[in-house]
Amino acid sequence: MSEDQLYFFYDLFQYLLNGICQGSIYALIALGYTMVYGIIKLINFAHGEFYMIGAFTGYYCIKSGMPLLYAFPIAMLFSGIMAVIVEKLAYKPIRHAGRIPALITALGVSFFFQYFGQMVLGAAPKPFPETYEDYNLLEKFGITEIIFTKTQAIIIVSTVVLMLFLRWLVMSTKVGKAMRATSFNKDASELMGINTDRIISFTFFIGASMAGAAGVLVGIYYNTIDPMMGLIPGLKAFIAAVLGGIGIIPGAVLGGLVLGVVENLVVGFWESTYRDVVSFGILILILLVKPTGLLGTKSKEKV
């Protein structure tokens, strides 16, 4: 193999690795999008803001001297609680008004958090405090051509752990089954004695806490956070959710990873400025070609 070829493969591997990291973060955010859509058919455009709230919660926790290991769950918890408050105050009262009013309300909530965030937190980006010395894990093995940092490892490991937890929650627990039941039909679930309002709140909580976790991970990865940070990743996660099939939980993971990898390949082998163009191009393409997403099937009902 010539040296050129070798370096091509080093590059390819590097971009794939970066893509998986980025994709993990998209996937974590996309999970909340897809779960909320699954249960009340609302595209929660404010979802990116819970990611921002998670990042800032993590920021203030760590600044106050808390170790990352504690800041992480606290950020998840706080994002989740904020989402439940938003759901109760903004979405629940208009739930019966149809989908468009809810969608517009979600946009309003999104703007509210972005600009309220700028007002109370300041518009300038904040450097995320370092809690450990980052280094290339592969150096130990004598590899310097490819970089796989401790932070990247933390991102991938925490994402996998959170996803396994979510899978267990949704598939094997009583509340998870109630979530799946509610997402199929609210009335039928009420007839089982399920308090569907509570299940819907819980879904918001879980979804937003996943986004909150992503916020902290991005803080330690890119080292800078600001109140507008939720906008683009929120939209990207929406693309990821649609790409995988909105409402389908494994679809959000797949969509996130595919999007992350594609974006990084575009950055690496084409032009970094084309990244967003390609992402939104994917959204348009999937909506044209297969609107149900990669894992989506047309639902059939037995009569």
Binding site: K177, A178, N185, A188, E190, L191, M192, G193, K302, V303
Partner: protein, 238 residues
Amino acid sequence: MANNILAIKNLNIHYGAIHAIKGINLTIKKGEVVTILGSNGAGKTSTLKSISGLVPVSKGEIIFNGDPIHKWKAHKIVKAGLAQSPEGRLIFPDLTVRENLEMGAYLRSDKVGIKEDMEYVSGLFPILSERGKQLAGTLSGGEQQMLAISRAYMSSPTLLLLDEPSLGIAPILVQTIFKAIKEINSRGTTILLVEQNAFAALKVADRGYVMQTGEIVMSGPASELIENDEIKKAYLGH
């Protein structure tokens, strides 16, 4: 009227400007099978939905076991012991048959009782235990109906509402289902059965009500209604 498990007094339901249910009265005694007959759009399903708390009552009262339940949330009514197998079955297609039954027992924590009732419904409809691990969406219409009835029964109700259990089901399965309804009733569960299949319903029922455009136009013992000429003409036909 202490032995009335359910009493509906002057029930009215509006959907916007449409007056769907126009002041009906209905009582069910403990242990009875009561049927509501009527054609499409008569208001049978609306009545059941309002009993279960899924449709708001605009005027009137629904008294269940002495409690006025017409302002309660649906899940609270289930907890009080009133279950419904809804129109169109509405089983959860992406959950397994067994998980569907578990959802029926959502509010219960008595493991022994749940297990007993699981076995009981498996005895009523053996197909349900054979297909326990299958996704409920893969069942045939008749099997789904069996599942829907069993699922409602799993909450261990004292009053069970059944909305058109024979709709769109092969005649042979209709027999099985009505036999099971009779059997569930013989175990002490009171049943309110909504049907278009008047003949099958009147055969298992003690009493019947006939609804037409939101009003009750006739009521009486099932044995009398089955002989009634008007009913014969309207529903028993052929």
